[in-house]
């Protein structure tokens, strides 16, 4: 009964958040140091005006329009909302022994076309926990995961990723089919019958079948893949949907670069432990890398040459980089700032680090025309920070998603506040 009460209370709280956002008006954030991450660079004493969920003007010392709600951000820092490039937000509540993991689909019936967008829950308790720490956008991804109880495996092609906002409302699903997850290297070998070569073969075979299907759509005989998978792969072949490839070892990255060139498709790397060894080649092939900068141990033989300086080396070579927390990119998607800070400690510029958690993911996934920076016309995801956003002791004072100020509470802050009442004589369940 106790847990049910908590859950009901939380649902109510989300509902109130949602209704308050509908009534949002024109807002002007004034006095801040704005890291726009756009062409305007860093602006001191910035006035940022938001209307109808978008930025309408950004200027130093600008005038606040009549009727706008003024937010004093003097001596504070304003950044674009944080954008996490991989994870399972809205696809999972508790990771283990506690119900479905909606990012995992096993078996071969549907692979490339498995679409996590249809499982996304904008009211997941994880969303608010990460939203109040500044995360406003996320790429949510399928995962080949681990075998289910009956031994069914995931697939080298795990399915389609989507872009969501963390507003917690019905319209949070922003874009389907934003990338297609693929596993190569050691992780791919496990889904391909044993060898990493098998994983590459499965990818090639899928692309070949999709190309063949493109010539004679509707004729299904002799294909290994289902109709829906063949249809989903058309977006990959025509360059609309990039492959989002989990790969670490330099030799496997080399093979990926070849496959990308041969089929004329686009790719993004996640993991990329040894990507620094091919920095120039990746820059030439326009392949971005999503890194976990803290994870510098040789977790397996694909990662023998892990280096602390990876992010800086790749950025220097002109590779677009983004970050994901190596330990928990979902429940603690918020720790993306820690990843960025650690990359700075080992050679990445602060500007590149901020870009890697805001604009770069938007660029990598092709949505930089809408989000990722503070620019006129873009959707107004903004965070006000009392101090350096990358510092561990730093936290947002206020987060805006599409111009709406979000409620700065989560199930975790409710728990915290309940147990902070140490002088209360009432049982915790009666403290609200």
């Amino acid at each position: 009964m106790k847990s049910r009460r908590v859950l009901i209370g939380f649902t109510t709280f989300i509902f109130l958040t949602f209704t308050s956002t509908v009534l949002a008006q024109s807002t002007a954030i004034v006095g801040a140091t704005a890291y726009t991450m756009g062409p305007q660079g860093t602006i001191e004493n910035a006035t940022i005006v938001i209307e109808d969920g978008r930025f309408v003007s950004i200027s130093a010392g600008g005038v606040v329009p009549a009727g706008a709600t003024t937010v004093d951000a003097n001596n504070k820092i304003v950044t674009p909302g944080l954008f996490t490039p991989i994870g399972f937000l809205g696809l999972v509540e508790v990771g283990f022994s506690a119900g479905p993991l909606d990012m995992m689909q096993r078996g071969d019936q549907f692979t490339a076309s498995f679409d996590v967008a249809d499982a996304f829950n904008p009211r997941s308790t994880l969303i608010a926990v990460n939203r109040i720490e500044g995360v406003t956008r996320a790429i949510i991804t399928p995962s080949p995961g681990f075998p289910d109880e009956t031994g069914n495996m995931g697939h080298v092609l795990a399915g389609l990723a989507a872009m969501v906002n963390l507003g917690g409302a019905n319209d949070s699903l922003e874009q389907r089919s934003i990338a297609m997850m693929v596993s190569l290297g050691e992780s791919g070998s496990g889904y391909a019958g044993g060898s990493r070569a098998g994983a590459v073969l499965m990818l090639r075979s899928a692309l070949d079948e999709a190309a063949s299907y493109a010539v004679k759509p509707g004729e299904l005989e002799d294909y290994n893949m289902s109709l829906s998978d063949l249809v989903a792969l058309q977006g990959v072949l025509n360059g609309e949907v990039p492959l989002f490839v989990d790969v670490d070892r330099a030799s496997d990255i080399s093979v990926l670069i070849d496959v990308v060139a041969e089929y004329g498709v686009r790719a993004i790397i996640v993991g990329g432990t040894e990507a620094w060894m091919l920095a120039d080649e990746l820059a030439d092939a326009d392949i971005a890398v999503v890194l976990a900068p803290q994870d510098i141990l040789p977790g397996n033989f694909d990662r023998l040459n892990a280096r602390r300086e990876s992010a800086g080396i790749l950025a220097e070579a002109g590779v677009t980089i983004a970050f994901a927390d190596g330990q928990s990119h979902t429940h603690n998607a918020r720790n993306i700032t820690q990843s960025a800070g650690n990359a700075v400690a080992y050679g990445l510029s602060r500007d590149d680090a901020m870009r890697a958690i805001t604009l770069a993911p938007a660029e990598i996934f092709g949505v930089a025309d809408r989000v990722g920076s503070i620019e006129v016309g873009k959707e107004a995801d903004v965070v006000i920070w009392p101090a350096d956003p990358l510092e561990l002791t730093s936290y947002p004072e206020q987060v805006y998603i599409k111009g709406n100020a979000v409620e700065m509470t989560s199930r975790q802050t409710l728990l915290r506040d309940r147990y902070l009442q140490t002088d209360s004589d009432t049982p915790p369940a009666y403290r609200k």
Partner: protein, 454 residues
Amino acid sequence: MNKSIVAIATLALFISACEQGAGDDEAKPYSSRYQPMASAATLLTGATVLTGTGERLDGADVLISDGKIQAIGEGLDAGNATVIDATGRWVTPGVIDVHSHLGVYASPGTQSHSDGNEATSPNTAEVWAEHSVWPHDPGFVTALAGGVTSMQILPGSANLFGGRSVTLKNVPGRNVQDMKFPGAPYGLKMACGENPKRVYGGRGQAPGTRMGNVAGYRTAWIKAADYKKKMEAAESGKGEPPMRDLQLETLAGVLSGEILIHNHCYRGDEMSVMLDIAKEFGYKITAFHHAVEAYKIADLLKESGTCAAMWADWWGFKMEAYDGIRENAALVDLAGACAVIHSDSAVGIQRLNQETAKVMGAAARVGVDVPPEKAITWITSNPAKALGIDADTGTLEAGKMADVVVWSGSPFSVYTRADQVFIDGALAYDRFDDSVNPVTDFSLGTAAATGGAE
């Protein structure tokens, strides 16, 4: 640790392997063979010093010689010591991780390296983690680069009783004996909650529920109490001792206070039950590990003198971790209980200072001020207490082991790195000099062979 040497005399019959200090002429099997590396006298000058005793000294010097902290203060005389200008830098005790699986779940994480969980029976108190430790785990070196000078290596949490832990000095050796912290007491890993009941319940054997877990603990303690009684009787000349039993020997060692309980336990209600089991059988729980809900029972932890070893913000990866909050350690500390930040991770152990900083930030948000001189105790003196090595290390006080980290700035900034790490006064790591830094056998010939220096 004179105390444990004395104890060997009285309990030798059934505590066969209590530690003796390094250099002991009559070293018993499995004893520490750790020898500090050669060191020179060193004077660190002009630093911001967090002593680990709750004090912060600005512009202070720290004098190290003969492997010990000799003095801390302003304007110390260098004598023959090498002077390192630490102006603008911060000096703290070496970081201590109370919960690590380095060496027993070594990198690379192949199946062949899975040596941490003897998941073949719910009670494996007879196994010792040190018999699984691979000293060439590259994780020891990366932890060193994060300022870690000592750590406890624990068995995993599949079992109600997982086995003995071992406390190590972070100087990679040829074998575990070369690394064992001289005189450190043993720990016994226990585990609450989901893991034991899932592992064994899934095989259709006990325990399959939390109440099954508790029945399993109590049954084992009843047997251990009986074994202890018979051993003591035999010692005082009343009858023959029972045949030596490794499992009961370890459990009886807990009941006699020689072996410390390190109890994996997430939920507040379960920790409360465990405290009652300890009460029933007359032992102490030294620390709850993971303790995701410690903030809900901080007063009970204070009352029992039990430390809570916690992550900063891991949560939700299983049901018993669902109520994790970032303020956990701060609320435990606020209640006057012993707070420790631990890693349970080969990655996390490299940045326990950063994990601590996240708690500081979260606490500040609700008006709970955790100054650096307080926060550092969560990863130095408090874990030293939980491991029973606080008489030797964990603070910067004259006479203690010179386990010292020189940080490039505040250890609670994300941009800060450990510049130098001293273990027993010897320079064990230098960010600016690869020739100083260890490279494990495994890492030879890889990028990691640079040792981590820039």
